[in-house]
Symmetry: D3
Subunit: 341 residues, 6 copies
């Protein structure tokens, strides 16, 4: 049974290493997007995964699709329409220098797609899980409507629905996000996020936490998780927790609330020397979905999620190019980084 | 006295050598655009050149501006507005394989610019030449209006006005182009183009010429040149002539009509082993403008134009990174390519 | 209905441009193999294609498989076994300098594969065409047996069988090749090759042709084609014809014999400025198979084959990364290489 | 009102990442020089900056000039003379391995320049600040004389004069440096340096500090600052303070003495994970000059200086490619390195 | 008097930086092998070094030989035989992600070499030291025999014999290794290794040490060293000690037992920010051999060994491209990594 | 018996492909020099070759030496002195665009070397051939003297002396060259050059030949060859003949005069599609020296010379990285450039 995810896939353009954009004339291309990253990770972990989106019918759209196919993601329900693929310029920070991102994603094929382009009943045939994030409905009014259509149809078709809140202030205001996300959350079984997003989007406060200082208030976290679960009737709510020491070094862990047992579990914390932090949250979501989809307990699932997110940040690019065994190995405590020979 | 040119500058993304787009994950960046190419070439030739455009106020817009400044082009009247820089994906052909171009230039800062953004009287202060091409009015209705404003103002301020017809069927239809270009041509002293464009845009036929076969009917060319000059009252009309043997090898020359003397002159023909043909026409225009701007006779100007266009196509990228001495050397007959040591 | 091909896929390691191996420390990786190239080309042309092979169960084998998936090739019947992927070092020649190839393909997973690993009946379910080349049976005695098994099974299952003779003197002697290839040819409907191979492997002479001098005796070719068809009962026999002017410039065309009509057709000849000639023959085979598989007449099929082979040689790498429209465009006579904008 | 700086700009050749020189055959080129770095940084911060030097009239000299123009630095008073641009080979250290520098800067255009080449009165027209470092007078006897001419002329023209002591033992002995630098210091308002240089060049001791151990004696620093100010009559003396934990990790901060208020202020300390430490001191000087030039208080100026120096070391190359807002952001305490999206 | 080492040299293929294998299509080539690394390091340190192996007589074998010659290693006794050079794919880990190694070294020229290919008496003429590691006898039964022949002949010729245990579980089992290594150890004067290998190969236990946790039991180490010395009659036994904090950060030191004085000495410990850890152990061995070969005391030799091993891990590739002065500088305590200018 | 050559080896810095210098920030490094190129080629062909020069004792000088050692060239008599290695910036031309060279070689270690640094008697021990070119005496007065010393000593020691006239107008005037070269020619047995150099340096005219037009007057050539032989008493005089069609395409051949038989022989002519023409003349000299040194007849030697020169120009870089079999293969008429597989 497959996991379907829906959203935007973009062309990412990044300079080498720690150069700034246009400091050298070469850019590295890759393809990325919150839900696309999840589809690729799940396929690499061994799940059957399908990604649904709209792509322009040109060499750029086809290249995006090929990159998904390369990792075994199903692409049969991708719609070819529109003029352009969204572009995402990203320059890596280092030490005290922040990473920098420039979006050029307006008017992309998916942002301009119509509700009628997607036949959700057909798409969900043979699927048992649907994943979406808060980025997708933020892209256009049409996509907000399509996103609601999708989660409704998924629920109706008996799929488990997961949603990563993923609030992006550059895409929409909290004011605009709240009613849309609230509508979507009605259909969500597994909610993924962090306490900042929960507060901004839903006004659910976690207590005093200042992430720029790396201080985390665990009790506040727990309260936030539980409130989300109760407000929206989610079975599982999980947050990734990032301590931003600098652009080069982050603390990283996860916390999960199991509504059935009313229990909270926290993962091991990883002090990560970061290679590329973009995509870490999506790998966290992927580890969580994989685990829950494969009937791993919430307590273990949060370890899988944290380990997947950690590994992803030690690698260039958004995509999580690890097998599930690599993730389980790290989740099991093997973090010494010794050579595998 | 400076030459002002006005139009779009885009980010060009190209794979290395003879790879296809996305065959390898790296892309080379450069900046280009018909009128920007002319500004850079003129500055490299030793003229004072200024480029006017609208750029987004982000690292991509600033990088475009820096690339112009790098070659000494004045950028004081560039307007910062809008969201994005147009993008131009280009993959080089080889032998029987054609080069391939994908435009992602809609909704660029310049395409969305308003007529009120440009104070032409102020811009033309200290200038004696204005250059534009048929690409700029094709980008939006607003730009069509701005382009007409610009040539009118230039004429009023006593500048010589040059225009490269540069018809692009992907940007507008011949039907839409004709009235706009006809209006612009009223103010043009020096018209640059080729006989195909003259026929498509103005319906001025040249006789039987099949460029894909590399056959050129010189008499037909002459008739076309003269008709353009007479129809629009141009002093000079010049065409570049390309014989497309293959993507790797082209014949290249120029032909010019001097309305004062009612005389036609043709340049030497170059058989070019092509490195990167994009920008060749703009370098041709630059050589012509430089020559006429510096009081070189039409007969010699067409040699300068053809040599500049030839050299540009032996180099990677759109920009013509040669000094005027390099151009004059080739125009003078030194085409043996011997090492300069 | 899909086309199945079977053989080896190798890791190709090549220096940039016209450098020699190890002149610079970077090598470009790609994946290639005569039958794999055909599968990728057919998928790019729009056919459903599947590639069958054996791969080692490590990151190298998986990367080979991913590269096939990237272009939509089905890989469901690939067997994971053995220790290593064959490696193919290739350095491009230029002008009078020949290209150079070093095989390190012994003991590869496919070379050591057992007949029992492949259930041909199951593999051919849903297929209507099977393609193999003379390279596969040359790799090991086991593969010679498996190859015969495969063509027999294909025939039995009602598939059209195509075989590219592809004699490689570094892999086996003509003496060893003849009985194996003769056995395989019994089941072949469409034979692809060139007159040299026909002479070496089957002793079928074509008349006086000296390919190193670029002289071709068309009558000799015709005789060779017909003899092959009659000897082995093939419906179609097609040869690619390469005139080796130098490593940089080749003449290229095709000739086909239609046994039903007892008719010979020759294609247009292309003078190719070569980017990477390796894989040209496989693209020729792909164009031919695509055409015949889609009921295009032999006279047109040889044009499709020649155009596909031509385009492939204008591009880096073995894989033919063109759509069928690109091929048809060239086959239709558009060889001017003008920019597609 | 513009800031003029004067000195050498060199071609820097560096291997990628943590390779040694010539371990791989590619080198990255950039242009650098203590005073050129300051001009580029000031222009990026938003000040008007001009750089004065002598360059050879060839493609290398022109490339150096273009790199300055690219960042908006004025180059109108650059003199074209001499044969060569100085070259600077630099290989980055890592962990316990020190960075390594090879100078090939003898007989450069600037080192051989004559006093008569520079008309300081004209150069300083429209300027209100002049910056030089102790590297320039070290390059040749002629440059020592020119440097003294320049500071005298600057003083006479009413400019604020800043000087970074920048002692380089490979260029001259302390014995040779002392009288020249002492003469220059007579005209200096803002002295930049560190306590090591003050001791070596001027014999002004700071107390017991062992930089290789990362131990800093703040009181000693203060005494050194004050003594410099009093000895030479400077209004401001500022030191950068580097704790060399290893080639990969450094502590970094600044300390400033305000002679008017007889007050010492220290900046925040940054623990930097270093990308490229060369140019950090020049960025420190640039932050200081920018701040003082824009009437920021000494207490805040030393924060600006330290933050600019810190950011520069997180980026490849010497040039400080940040806007003043990036610097102010960090100086204001935002050092978490979170993604700007 | 020269040092001869004997073993395999492989082609190493590695992706750039922190990319995974085949994530990008380029690989960096270098040549490596435990004993070859030692030969190169010794030559760079200033000793005369010779490397003996078997290479295929093709461009790959010759490239390996040239890379040795480049660093002054003598190659006169290399035998040209066999088909292939062993290949070693290596991808660098980062933080919690382990480095990954894929061997494709079976059937290499050296693995298939015959005892009769090496005339040890001739090879050892003019030599006073022989070095081998436990990797070489693990490669094939033939090499196990040749390795024993070599150490016997070395002993007979009066050379000092050093051996690095270097147990590789992917090459042979402990069961198979023990008798072979025990036979070799009879002739070994200087044994190099670590306590894990001593336990696995010889069953000599060191006490409770868990390297993955970074905990080291120094007493246990001492016991292990002494037991090895006494069991096999070695004069010197030295271990490198690695604390694996993560793939990016390791603790690194050495410990040595001097059988003559019955004394144990430990080196300084280095906390290394790792650039490329592969080859660190070989550089450790090289530092040790160099020191002892040049009559440096065991107490100082272990410092030389640890410093050489540390430096090697701060550099890309296996080869230790430092001069002995660089090593002595670090061994002498200068680990601040300050720029050498 | 070995061939000794003497001269300068420089660091060559070149942009990729057909980019201009500094158009992209990366440069490719290689090492080159007329006599060094000959030493490397001879060693690759199988002769014992030694190169004598002076190098700075730093990482750049050592890298130059290592590059020679890599190809088996003896370097025992290289002197370490001076400050810098000469640098040679080279940008490749294409089609009508000439290649461009910038020398930064003044004050190099070799240019400043003293006659006393070279003990020619010792250097020539074990040698039977000495090679020098007209570039070396042009570098400094001291080198002019050293060059004369060397040829005298070579003659005295019974070596065959070859000299390539190699006139470089950027290094010295014809007026300055004539007496020095005339003195050197007294000791030369084998003179290599072209008719232009013979005319400029010695005033020996060849008749009407205009190389820029690709017209060659064979009779004129013959006269020039014979006059040189008779004037200076040379046994062999050989010219390379280049027809400069363009920077991309050259005609290439050789002509030789055998004074013993008073006979002239011409080689095959190659139409070369040029990869990198620099070094072609040195490869020509190498092929000639190899042939004569190995007792091949003048008629065959000129074929070897022309083929070696041709192959070199199909490869990036100066060095001729071919085996003698590759050269003989081409000289034997195999110029079809077919893949060697």
């Amino acid at each position: 049974m497959k996991v379907v995810s829906f959203g935007e896939i973009m062309l990412r353009l990044s300079p080498d290493g720690y150069y700034k954009l246009f400091q050298k004339p070469e850019l590295n291309t890759s393809f990325c997007g919150a839900e696309a990253n999840v589809a690729v990770a799940l396929s690499n972990f061994g799940d059957e995964a399908e990604f649904v989106t709209a792509l322009p019918d040109n060499d750029i759209g086809r290249a995006a699709c090929r990159e998904l196919m390369r990792y075994g993601v199903k692409t049969d329900n991708i719609v070819y329409t529109g003029d352009r693929l969204g572009i995402f310029f990203a320059e890596k920070g280092a030490s005290q220098r922040p990473s920098k991102v420039i979006y050029d994603r307006k008017n992309s094929a998916i942002a301009l797609a119509e509700p009628s382009s997607f036949d959700w009943e057909k798409i969900f045939d043979g699927a048992d899980w649907f994943h979406i994030t808060g980025i997708t409905p933020a892209l256009s009014d049409s996509l907000a409507k399509i996103s609601v259509d999708a989660v409704k149809a998924a629920k109706k078709a008996g799929l488990t629905v997961s949603c990563d809140i993923n609030y992006r202030s550059k895409l929409w205001s909290a004011q605009k996000a709240r009613p849309v996300m609230t509508e979507i959350m009605k259909y969500v079984d597994v909610c993924i996020g962090n306490e900042e997003d929960a507060e901004i989007v839903f006004g659910i406060k976690a207590g005093t936490t200042d992430v720029t200082k790396g201080q985390l208030d665990t009790d506040g976290y727990k309260k936030s998780l539980q409130t989300v679960a109760e407000t929206f009737g989610c079975k599982i709510v999980a947050y990734s927790q990032r301590k931003s020491y600098s652009a080069s070094d982050n603390g990283w862990s996860g916390i999960i609330y199991d509504d059935e047992k009313k229990q909270v579990y926290t993962s091991a914390q990883y002090d990560i020397r970061i290679t590329d932090r973009i995509g870490g949250g999506d790998a966290f979501a992927s580890g969580l979905i994989y685990a829950l989809h494969n009937n791993i307990s919430p307590a273990n699932a949060i370890e899988t999620a944290a380990a997947a997110g950690c590994l992803d940040q030690t690698l260039e690019g958004d995509f999580c190019l690890f097998g599930i065994n690599d993730v389980i190995d790290l989740a099991g405590g093997n973090s010494s980084g010794r050579v595998k020979r």
